[in-house]
Symmetry: C2
Subunit: 335 residues, 2 copies
């Protein structure tokens, strides 16, 4: 099929309409077909169209001056080679179910193309995923690295379902030591049954800052430093002095505990919490608490997802809004 390039857009005449009818390329315009840059490049490389004065390298070099076109082309090509019909828009591609195509079928994925260095703004991703879910589409991030290799991530909003609540704890006094708290309870106390604390010796259980504040907040633990009673607010204040992330980590900790989950430190996995859904030998999620307006380069998220995957856990970010926590899961997928 002959096509023309006016310096901005590639168009075909009436004979190009077969490209649309048979495989969903382009968008109809008058009697002809208008091709997106990725479509034109793909068809040109495959020898399906010819453009006077432009070979593939030259057309790619022209389009490459626009941001994102090269990487977006690689994603487009990969999706086409996997047998999907793909339409450009709304962000950046709509991918149809296998065997279906524009005008004749339904799209399955919304695909956003980004580079490994692009920052992920969690609040705006959450909005996009919400929109996609409302339209019953899966939201997929296609990331392109410096060698133009592709990785796909499905992004899902999660609300961990409520589990059985923990029993009521007995009233107890604690002594603050640094940021932790010592309580005097024998081994196999109710606290340990609910996976609070780590054992210091046969008499003493050591509660982490989150555990201390959670237990003091639900009213069962009164705290003192050197004979002086200290309030939960004072304790939060103390903790924040050496940890700027403390407050949003605490919110995620409390939310998970209230839902019946057991969050423990995730340090060995490089994240805030490893989370158990009940007293099980293995934790099932890594949860990293982030602020509402948090931003992270994609390569950092890629590291988290890869790590979580290697230890067979889900990777969730807990985004702290004033109204509650929005959990967002990143999972590598093969399309």
């Amino acid at each position: 099929v002959k096509a023309a390039f006016d310096g901005t857009t590639v168009r075909c005449g009436q004979d190009g309409l077969t490209l649309y009818d048979q495989a969903g390329f382009g968008r109809k315009e008058g009697n002809g077909l208008k091709l997106a840059p990725q479509e034109a490049l793909y068809l040109l490389q495959r020898g399906k169209i010819k453009i006077d004065d432009y070979d593939f390298d030259k057309l790619l070099a022209v389009f490459a001056e626009q941001p994102n076109i090269v990487r977006s082309y690689f994603v487009y090509r990969d999706l086409r080679e996997r047998g999907y019909a793909v339409q450009t828009g709304p962000h950046d591609f709509r991918v149809f179910k296998r065997g279906q195509r524009p005008g004749k079928g339904e799209s399955l994925y919304f695909i956003r193309v980004i580079s490994e260095r692009d920052p992920i703004q969690f609040s705006s991703i959450i909005k996009e995923v919400n929109t996609a879910h409302n339209m019953r589409k899966q939201y997929v991030l296609a990331t392109v690295d410096d060698e133009n290799e592709l990785t796909y991530y499905e992004i899902k909003l999660q609300t961990p379902p409520h589990l059985e609540p923990f029993p009521i704890f007995p009233s107890i006094n604690g002594t603050i030591v640094g940021k932790s708290t010592i309580i005097h309870v024998p081994p196999k106390s109710q606290f340990e049954e609910a996976w609070f604390g780590s054992r210091l010796d046969d008499n003493r259980l050591l509660l982490s800052p989150f555990e201390t504040i959670y237990l003091a907040g639900i009213g069962d633990l009164s705290l003192k430093i050197d004979m002086r009673i200290i309030s939960v607010e004072d304790l939060i204040q103390r903790a924040q002095e050496t940890d700027t992330e403390f407050l949003h980590k605490l919110k995620v900790y409390e939310d998970l505990r209230k839902r019946g989950y057991i969050p423990k430190t995730g340090y060995k996995f490089g994240h805030h919490f490893r989370v158990y859904s009940g007293q099980k030998p293995h934790s099932e999620m890594l949860v990293h608490a982030i602020e509402e307006n948090a931003e992270m380069p994609m390569i950092t998220i890629s590291r988290s997802v890869r790590l979580a995957h290697s230890v067979k856990k889900k990777m969730l970010f807990g985004c702290v809004y004033s109204t509650g926590i929005q959990y967002i899961e990143f999972a590598r997928i093969k399309l």
Copy 2:
């Protein structure tokens, strides 16, 4: 043994000297023994000393008002329980070979204690490791998480040995498309033999920005955009516009290539490069390029080390100095 606490320091009289002689606790002072806070807490918890008016909780609560004492105590206790004699200083502990002790033997490790949130300043760690190596000691970071669990990392300075150099490449022209470069070579070209580029189709090989600049820099590749010849400097300029880390990543890339290694994108592992020492099926190192004055929270490094370990690779940071690259390896160890 009876000891006294003056509000700052715990001391024993002459009968305390057996603690030093038999197990290397404390430092001699006059006729008696002066104990570091960690030593006093350990001996008190073990019931080896008694202090009027102070039980363990009370002494710990007092010392806990000093920064780092609680976490440092947990490391001290762990090392003692593993059967090591430990002396405080220079940073933070000297650990003796098993069966040896202060005055009678040699220390093996210098141990620095940090919390999971502490920032690691690479340049100052490099200095400390250097000092330790000059004294023929291993440098170990003991990290303490929010639940007072311990993880030990050995830190080593590395200089990857030179491997066989790559052959000379033929002169060739390339077309810049975005940040990558297209060269026209048939499959199994010399470039691919040295693991440069990724294949676009049977005629075209796509070079990444690092590969392009490296090959152009050693003089075998001349580059053009839209008929116009472009210099290596222009290309570096272009790349830096969208990537603030570009320059130090490039320096590490070039250094590794000059040593005969093959760095490829490490995106899938969440780091800058995966590095092959020759044409092998698996890469052996993950290398992350950082600036001379880079700083990173320990939890972030923990994530990197855990990930590298899970894919059986070494985790190296390439610290870019004006005089060259200093590679520094973090490896989790069991003491």
